[in-house]
């Protein structure tokens, strides 16, 4: 510890008109786990790409590696100095085996060398054992879980001689247990003298494993802080520049019952799920990945049919054959997969907002007025304070937070009584998250009944009036956040 692995000073980068990085300083020690935090667009990725040689920084930069100081670095030099980046998509070859993936870089350097599968196997076994990982070198990468693929990517950079590893959102699609395993591995790598930089949205984990955290905001360095004594709230404030509230919803807001599940089951997915949802209530539905949260939501939304049990809305039993029936009964569902299911990314913001209410907009019959579509979108853009330069642009041109507002808008346009929000803050910045939750609380205050699905205990704790914890398709426990702590809720989820 204490030795400097990299020190970069006066790092700036200009793209066209905008200054993406402005005189940033970055320091990484040997054997350290450092967190690089900041909202989307704060310049994190640009900084990494400068350090690993992909981008050339503006003049005046000093890059020092212990003994030597450079004014620029090429990707090959960066590699030779042991700097490696594991991007979020991992860049593995899914059809090749673990061993082939691990030794792949040898063959990039020497393309004429014949491939020896035996050597590949022994060499990758060595790496796997050296770091005590749980990996089968013969397995095909496509058959592995995301968590295991991550290990393959780590082995691959270790095999290539990495001494400094940047990990881009490594925990994004892992379950709680897998995250813990991964963090354990980063700790043991650090103990072996390897420096690790974690880029993560999940503040809790970051604080747990990192020694220091470097915060960027709008291309400028906010500062580098020790994680000891750092709270999640303070880190959010540093990242966003905003004071965010971290308190549970003060009281329960129960109105009349709207939706009732009576022993609802769907074979292989969930069993005997019963609860009542009231007007003005935010009901948290949580549990580990695969506990049946999304499956229950799909059934309430009519996408799948229950095998037994009853679903009642305002006392009337519902037999939904499709999600169109659900929409007609004023039930809306915001998908967790905004990229593939939530929005039609290539089509315009106007079209994505209007798609759920076409029958209402097509008046008279067979005349769908473009004016009405535009007016509807304009209304919701204003209501939800969405930053949109031109609603004719593809929805993919928006940031995650603004995309989510459009996804919300398209369901709010259906005037739902029951709104199911499946992980509404996935891929949304800390600052934008607070904005989304403000909207959700407001909706509940106006009397909408909301089911909030999330695997982040903090989100549930802060926003739900009542939380149901699921495990293996059954309701395991019911918690009132206001009567407990975030940590206690987290413990119940992970128990």
């Amino acid at each position: 510890m204490g030795d400097i692995a990299i020190r970069a000073r006066h790092v700036s980068k200009i793209f066209g008109q905008s200054r993406v990085l402005d005189d940033v300083e970055f320091e990484l020690r040997r054997g350290e786990v450092l967190c690089l935090a900041g909202e989307n667009g704060c310049g994190k990725s640009t900084l990494i790409k400068i350090i690993n040689g992909v981008y050339t920084p503006e003049e005046g930069v000093e890059l020092s590696f212990g003994d030597e100081t450079l004014s620029a670095i090429s990707p090959i030099e960066a590699r030779n100095r042991g700097i490696h980046v594991i991007w979020q998509d991992l860049a593995l070859f899914p059809h090749l085996t673990v061993a082939e993936n691990i030794v792949f870089d040898d063959y990039v350097a020497k393309p004429w060398r014949p491939i020896s599968y035996k050597d590949a196997l022994t060499q990758s076994r060595e790496i796997i054992q050296q770091f005590g990982l749980d990996l089968d070198p013969m397995a095909r990468v496509e058959d592995l879980s995301i968590a295991h693929r991550q290990l393959v990517a780590i082995c691959r950079v270790l095999r290539a001689g990495a001494s400094i590893i940047f990990m881009d959102e490594p925990t994004a699609s892992l379950t709680y247990k897998e995250v813990q395993t991964l963090l354990g591995i980063t700790r043991s790598l650090a103990a072996k003298g390897i420096s690790i930089v974690l880029i993560s949205h999940r503040l809790v984990e970051v604080l747990e494993v990192c020694q220091r955290v470097t915060v960027l905001r709008n291309g400028k360095l906010v500062g580098t802080y020790p994680t000891e004594g750092m709270t999640q709230a303070r880190l959010s404030t540093l990242m966003t520049g905003l004071e965010l509230e971290f308190t549970p919803r003060a009281e329960t807001h129960k109105g009349a019952p709207v939706l009732e599940l009576k022993n609802l089951s769907r074979e292989g997915e969930f069993e005997n799920v019963s609860f009542t949802l009231h007007r003005g209530e935010i009901l948290g539905l949580t549990g580990l990945l695969g506990a049946g949260r999304t499956e229950i939501a799909h059934t309430i939304f009519g996408m799948t049919q229950p095998t037994s049990g009853q679903l009642l809305k305002e006392g009337q039993p519902l037999a939904l054959r499709s999600n169109r029936d659900a929409v007609r009964h004023r039930i809306a569902y915001l998908s967790e997969d905004r990229l593939n299911l939530g929005l039609v990314q290539n089509q315009s913001i106007n079209m994505n907002t209007a798609v759920t209410v076409l029958p209402r907009l097509e008046k008279p019959r067979f005349f769908l007025s473009p004016q009405r579509i535009k007016a509807l979108t304009a209304h919701w853009i204003e209501q939800l304070k969405t930053k949109v330069s031109d609603p004719e642009l593809a929805v993919s041109s928006l940031s995650g937070g603004n995309q989510q507002r459009i996804a919300l808008a398209k369901w709010l346009a259906t005037e739902p009584d029951v709104l199911i929000l499946d992980c509404p803050t996935i891929g949304v910045d800390v600052g934008a998250k607070a904005g989304i939750f403000d909207i959700i609380r407001n909706l509940a205050d106006q009397g909408m009944a909301i089911i909030l699905i999330s695997d982040e205990a903090g989100e549930i704790w802060m926003n739900a009036d009542r939380a149901l914890v699921l495990r293996e398709g059954r309701i395991y426990s019911e918690v009132i956040p206001a009567e407990t702590t975030e940590e206690a809720l987290e413990a119940i989820i992970n128990a």
Binding site: M303, S322, N323, R324, A326, V327, Y333, S335, N340, L341, G342, L343, V344, Q345, N346, Q347, S348, N350, M351, A354, V355, T356, L358, P359, L361, E362, F366, F367, L368, S369, P370, E392, L393, A394, S397, K410, T414
Partner: protein, 330 residues
């Protein structure tokens, strides 16, 4: 045209932005080719030539419209030409056989029946695509071979000719100086523009062409929309069959077969996205007109018909190459 295409913004295929650029590009192409052949080809700028061009265009035009909708929905309908033949056969058979004694009244009934056959062929393809989930290329290829076989079996490889006078009037007559087939084509194009831009069916076709699962999650009946897409495609193909029947005074299975891939070419030339979600009627109409101008112009210059086809192919490649950088950016 090069210059105009270069102005295309990175987000190719915006609803209005991309549309106006495609329209501008196709207009430029049309004006450019008319200008070029006015200079090069003797007799290009004559009423006779324009008359014959607008006589030839509608068959390919209607078949291309029939191809456009499936392409926007992310599929393809390879059976358009044989659907046209079968629809024509139905009409010819009714006029000459079953309804021969009815006189002039037989014509509208036979035409409606022919269009209904086209609609039925499209409907079946749509049902299979929607409910079986097989790829439209496979389904419509199967339908194409099936219709070809049925048609050849029924006609024993020959043709039916000798339609009543009315057909000739439709095929070679004109109204207000515009040939009737051209009027039919323009009316069909106008109808399609309306459907695509001012009805929820059109709206849904664009959405599901981009991402059918996300569209279904939004509460759109994706299956029903797909069936509608192929049914409309079948009706348009049937209409093409009627125009062919009227123009040639005969119907033969395999007639217009060579148009099939050219309809696909025309759609892509006009900016339809091979992966679905984008494509407009107006640029297609303009693009088709340019293709016709090129063919007729070269014909007047004494070049062979086949050379004109080669030029069409070269044209598509050039336009694709010019467009590619913008598609990649987005």
């Amino acid at each position: 045209m090069n210059k105009r295409l270069n102005k295309q913004p990175s987000t190719a295929g915006l609803r209005l932005g991309g549309d106006s650029i495609e329209v501008a590009a196709m207009t430029a192409l049309l004006i450019g080719s008319i200008g070029l052949f006015s200079l090069l080809a003797p007799g290009f700028l004559t009423a006779t030539n324009f008359g014959s061009m607008s006589m030839q265009l509608p068959e390919l035009g209607l078949l291309s419209l029939a191809m456009l909708l499936p392409i926007i929905s992310g599929g393809l309908n390879l059976s358009v030409t044989f659907t046209a033949n079968i629809a024509g056969l139905m009409t010819a058979w009714l006029v000459q056989g079953l309804l021969a004694g009815m006189g002039i009244l037989s014509v509208p009934i036979a035409i409606i029946a022919g269009l209904a056959v086209g609609a039925a062929a499209g409907f079946l393809i749509g049902v299979i695509v929607a409910y079986v989930g097989a790829h439209p290329i496979l389904v419509s290829l199967g339908a194409m071979i099936f219709l070809q076989g049925v048609g050849e079996f029924l006609t024993r490889g020959g043709g039916i000719s000798g339609m009543p006078e009315v057909f000739q009037t439709i095929g070679s007559g004109s109204f207000l100086g515009i040939p009737i087939p051209m009027l039919i084509f323009l009316a069909a194009a106008a109808g399609l523009i309306y459907i695509m831009h001012f009805t929820r069916t059109g709206f849904s076709i664009y959405m599901l062409g981009s991402n059918s699962r996300a569209t279904e999650y939004s509460g759109i009946n994706v299956k029903r929309v797909l069936i509608t897409v192929y049914t409309i495609s079948g009706i348009l193909a049937g209409l093409a069959g009627m125009v062919m029947l009227a123009r040639f005074n005969s119907v033969r299975v395999g007639h217009g077969e060579s148009y099939l891939l050219i309809t696909v070419l025309a759609c892509f030339l006009a900016g339809a996205n091979p992966f679905g979600g984008f494509g407009r009627v107006l640029p297609l109409v303009l693009g088709l007109m340019s293709l016709q101008v090129i063919a007729s112009g070269m014909n007047l210059m004494g070049a062979s018909q086949h050379l004109a086809t080669a030029v069409w192919g070269a044209f598509l490649i050039i336009v694709m190459a010019l467009r590619m950088p913008f598609i990649k950016q987005s």
